[in-house]
Symmetry: C2
Subunit: 274 residues, 2 copies
């Protein structure tokens, strides 16, 4: 099975795209809602949470891990790769790769949480691919709370998006990385403010494509996943499992909204003391 | 020692007021930053976190517990009182009591996190004291992120405060409970928007006063606390201890800002896997 984790429900935008791109593989999702958000926490704390999430997914039978949270990928991906032997695919690598391919004027913007921006991981990964690129990054800590409130088109949200993007606009970027899985929900506002000539790179889409290409080139892994799930061919989305470490009504509503269908969230902490 | 816990650093506004009102007693603060915020999480999860926080403070030698977080008090105070034998003082009881005393037109407004508002605890406590009171409550989930960003006087913050307070203004309340320890930092904006005739009830101040009165009437507890801390008379604020379950530069800056002095935050999770 393909295991995916995120700090909450934002990574469901990645899971949804993977469902569409790779419908033949069953998914295991884990949203660490009890500890959300990761983006304002320290790298040490985010690494510890990420380890626990990987352990949980492996115990549930995951054969490949997707780190669907930019803050988790930015701070912990190197550690996780040294500590675990399963393949680990992360949102940052796929997205940085696409942005480097896309830019023509070599001016790339990045928006994300404070943890993602401060980790500097997008800059490092883009510079490794093309040292000539200029990178301009902007932490946007208020966008996740606004999105989680559903304020996708409110005047205040437009003003805050404007405040965050104005410095990037001045740098005349031609490519903007949406470095947080929540941000695609604000695509219309962001595109309008940054200008229609700037290409937005959606980390959900790039990660799903990267996974698809990885699976196409890893026959031993895919045959193993297929062998264990022979009764699920063709795969039915209803067999995918969605675990969360906490569950509230607004969260369930957001999950259903992302997938456009009723999602059964399994609360791993229900009736426990953890 | 007096133990205080909060979901983060907001409760430091309570700790600071207690330092001023009861300077003779040493304080132990615990901010559960690794799990912040509580206000958007489920009651079950908040109760579990609150239990762990009380256990931590008791292990450190606390003889009395202050629940300085409205979301924690609103969801877990009844459970905690049945499970622990130490005195537990909470922000809600003191604040509800003051609001009921203050109102003359019997119309009281409450602003807080979603967890606090949905718990309905302020309504219950005010109605117990005076069933004739009408209570109007408003969840304000975006205020904590705005305050934590330091956007105390930005145009967007003013607009969001206006959006949240307009329904309460229409109800012609004469008393407004600031039901979250972060909100006193927005007092000028809130007072301006709700109208200067409305009295704002600050849960930090009311809790400190309530504690002072409790201690004045509990000689056995106060003599015990004093006996163990005879070398700290008169008490020096520098002896107070501030523990946090995670630490970041913006958090340290906020803590120093609240107290107006350098606060040494002791990270209980440093170099551990929890």
């Amino acid at each position: 099975m393909i295991g995916i984790f995120d700090s909450g429900v934002g990574g469901m935008t990645v899971a949804k795209t993977i469902e569409q791109v790779c419908p033949q593989y069953p998914l295991l999702y884990f949203g660490d809602v009890a500890h959300t958000p990761y983006g304002s926490k320290s790298p040490e704390t985010i690494i510890n949470y990420s380890r626990r999430n990987v352990d949980f997914l492996l115990r549930q039978g995951a054969e490949i891990i997707i780190v669907a949270c930019n803050s988790a990928a930015a701070t912990s991906i190197n550690k996780l790769r040294t500590e675990y032997s399963v393949p680990i695919i992360d949102v940052v690598t796929a997205t940085a790769s696409k942005a480097t391919e896309n830019t023509t004027n070599k001016r790339i913007g990045i928006i994300g949480t404070r943890a993602t921006v401060q980790s500097d991981i997008y800059t490092q990964q883009i510079k490794q691919r093309n040292p000539a690129c200029q990178i301009y990054s902007q932490a946007c800590p208020l966008l996740v709370p606004l999105i989680e409130e559903g304020w996708l088109n409110k005047r205040e949200t437009k003003m805050i998006v404007r405040r965050y993007l104005t410095p990037l606009r001045r740098h005349q970027i031609d490519t903007l990385i949406l470095g947080c899985t929540h941000y695609p929900l604000l695509t219309p506002l962001i595109q309008k403010r940054i200008g229609k000539k700037v290409r937005l790179i959606d980390s959900s889409i790039e990660t799903a494509r990267y996974l698809q290409s990885f699976l196409d080139n890893s026959p031993e892994i895919t045959s193993n996943i297929r062998k264990k799930n022979t009764n699920q061919q063709p795969h039915h989305f209803e067999k995918n499992l969605f675990f969360v470490s906490d569950s509230t009504p607004p969260l369930r509503k957001l999950a259903n909204g992302i997938f456009g269908r009723k999602i059964n969230l399994i609360n791993t902490n229900a009736n426990t003391n953890t």
